[in-house]
Amino acid sequence: MTRTVVIDPVTRIEGHAKISIYLDDGGEVSDARFHVVEYRGFEKFCEGRPFTEMAGITARICGICPVSHLLAAAKTGDKILAVKIPPAADKLRRMMNLAQLTQSHALSFFHLSSPDFLLGWDSDPATRNVFGLIAANPDLARAGIRLRQFGQTVLEKLGGRKIHAAWTVPGGVRSPLSEEDRQWIVDRLPEAFDTLSLALGLFKGMLDDQLKAEIGIFGEFPTLYMGLVGPHGEWEHYDGKLRFTDSQGTIVADGLSEDDYHQFLGEAVEPWSYLKFPYYRPLGYPAGIYRVGPLARLNVCSHIDTEAANRELQELRDRAGGVPTSSFLYHYARLIEILACLEKIQELVDDPDVLSDRCRAHAGVNQLNAVGVSEAPRGTLFHHYQVDENGLLEKVNLIIATGQNNLAMNKTVAQIAKHYIHGSDIPEGLLNRVEAGIRCYDPCLSCSTHAAGQMPLHLELVAADGRLLDEVYR
């Protein structure tokens, strides 16, 4: 008898989702799906608002990474004003994104995922969480929590508040860093570096030992990767050009501008999820599967232009024997990115520009169609606005990082389910592994289901041999 196993809700992720696993007559997994069951509507209700409000409105899409939408909206706003923002604003915005990447990755690694690694996949679910971690390893838990606090506090010192600071605006930022706050960052950086060193050492040890098997099962398959890179192909998080690479490390497309995103990105929909399925358009759907986020950023770049992080990147590549293709290594990539962020924050606090109050350009509406891009913790984020001649929004499109990993997340869930689930007796620890496959991507479903409008429904009745028996469109 066929059977469907439902994991609802998926825990320790940001948002609401469920996973369905379909078993065939023999009790083997025939398919698995990751359903996103929440719905927002931002693209629709932003219409008619002044574009200057978009940073404030779209920031509310999510409180987990409260800076990503602010930055993407402000960068799109810069283009509508048709201004080049002052150097101080560029550096201050960069510092804010680095702080955000640090706090968000720390949350994902220490609070959400490390209980699986440190307490065990099969440990009691009642304590397999950050509180269980605090009880089992209080020093590591405290260090992780303080690392996140460091990132959050830098956000507060820059923007006046930790969440949804209305500080990043079209044309730049509202205010520079104060000398006192700069000193606070300088004083706290050594502790953050120590925490990173501890976590990297611990996690690499586990990858050699108890987590070795997971690398081959948790999303180990070839896909494309997409991310921003700098002018010399270096790791980038705020500006630059888009690059696609494949699992052999070959550059598939390079120097792409966000302005042309519709030429290389398509957005498919499926009737069983509110989350869209972006794909690389030249390869079609679903063959154009690509991944974004920490691992993708590390895979598309040639190097990281800070010393310690670049050393770790080379070690990651050496360990993988080339391009790391397992989504389980997103956790590893997150730690390397935090290290890069800390090194870059250290560079920025020594730059006198971050104290300059020439940090905002003023202008009117000079361009009616604009696309902004930035790297959110979970991957590349696009905002596309079309405004009327007075700056009121006529059309909004948002392409969110988590959506771009949707195809890969579904494939990961199916891969893990097929590996671990055989027959009808399914221990909880196995289901936890399926959820953990999703956690590799640290998905933010609040962000990724911002869309509005009717979901096109296409129902297919498919026979076991793959023949299409019937189909209905609504």
């Binding site: 008619g48 002044p50 404030g56 509310r60 209305a166 079209p170 009117g364 007075n390 700056g391």
Partner: protein, 238 residues
């Protein structure tokens, strides 16, 4: 000069005749909440927040347009008035689309302050979510009708202080809205001198400087009274 004697909240007061109850209360240290009142321009009694109880009258009277009278016994802060004021503010929130989190006036808004003052933590009335436009056709300023509470301060400052009379009120009841010129886009109204007094006068984020983002609205409200004093008394003091 004739003087009237009366009581406000039990306090004996003697004040020049022709004074409003609101002025009399203010001069004697009694604060009465207001939203549509603005120093320097005439009063219209639009917001109903300054309603007071007067002994012998079975109606609540708006303090801003009620003149003092001999022997009046006025109460300004009874439980009944507190209840009415809270209800009035709740109705204002329910009637428009007031999203403080993304508003230019967040943290510097008289409606927001009033909600705090009257102890409003939610609206008991269903939100109407009206479909209202935003007009940013003016080169410097914009008006977001979603945030307008129809206090008509803009209408009065433009007419009485600037003398341009750009603003008016159109329609009736719940369909009322503020119009510029002959219901034209603001940017097309020749009469507008772009003086910005309406921006200073607006109690909410309804009229704002273009380009302002969340919480950035600043006002120089004292400038309005300064202009009136300068014009009428030839005294240029602030």
């Amino acid at each position: 000069m004739s003087v009237k004697t009366l009581k406000i909240d039990g306090k004996d007061i003697a004040i020049e005749s022709g004074t409003t109850v609101l002025q009399a209360a203010k001069e004697n240290g009694v604060a009465i909440p207001t939203l549509c009142h603005l120093d320097g321009v005439s009063d219209v009694g639009a917001c109903r927040l300054c309603l007071v109880e007067v002994a012998g009258s079975n109606k609540l009277l708006p303090a801003c347009v009620t003149e003092v009278a001999e022997g009046m016994d006025i109460q300004t802060n009874t439980p009944k008035l507190q209840q009415y004021r809270k209800m009035t503010v709740e109705l204002l929130f329910a009637e428009g689309n007031h999203v403080c989190a993304v508003c230019v006036a967040n943290g510097n808004c008289e409606l927001q302050d009033m909600a705090v003052l009257v102890g409003m933590d939610h609206s008991r009335f269903p939100y109407q979510f009206p479909d209202r436009p935003v007009d940013v056709s003016h080169e410097q300023f914009g008006i977001d009708h979603n945030r307008c509470i129809l206090c008509t301060r803009c209408v009065r400052v433009c007419d009485e202080i600037e003398g341009a009379h750009v603003w008016d009120v159109a329609q009736r009841g719940e369909n009322c809205f503020i119009v510029s010129g002959l219901n034209q886009p603001w940017g097309e109204v020749d009469a507008c001198t772009s003086c910005g007094k309406c921006v200073d006068a607006c109690p909410t984020g309804a009229i704002f400087r273009k380009g302002s983002t969340t919480g950035e609205k600043e006002r120089d409200r004292a400038k309005l009274e300064f202009l009136v004093t300068a014009r009428e008394q030839h005294q240029w003091t602030r």
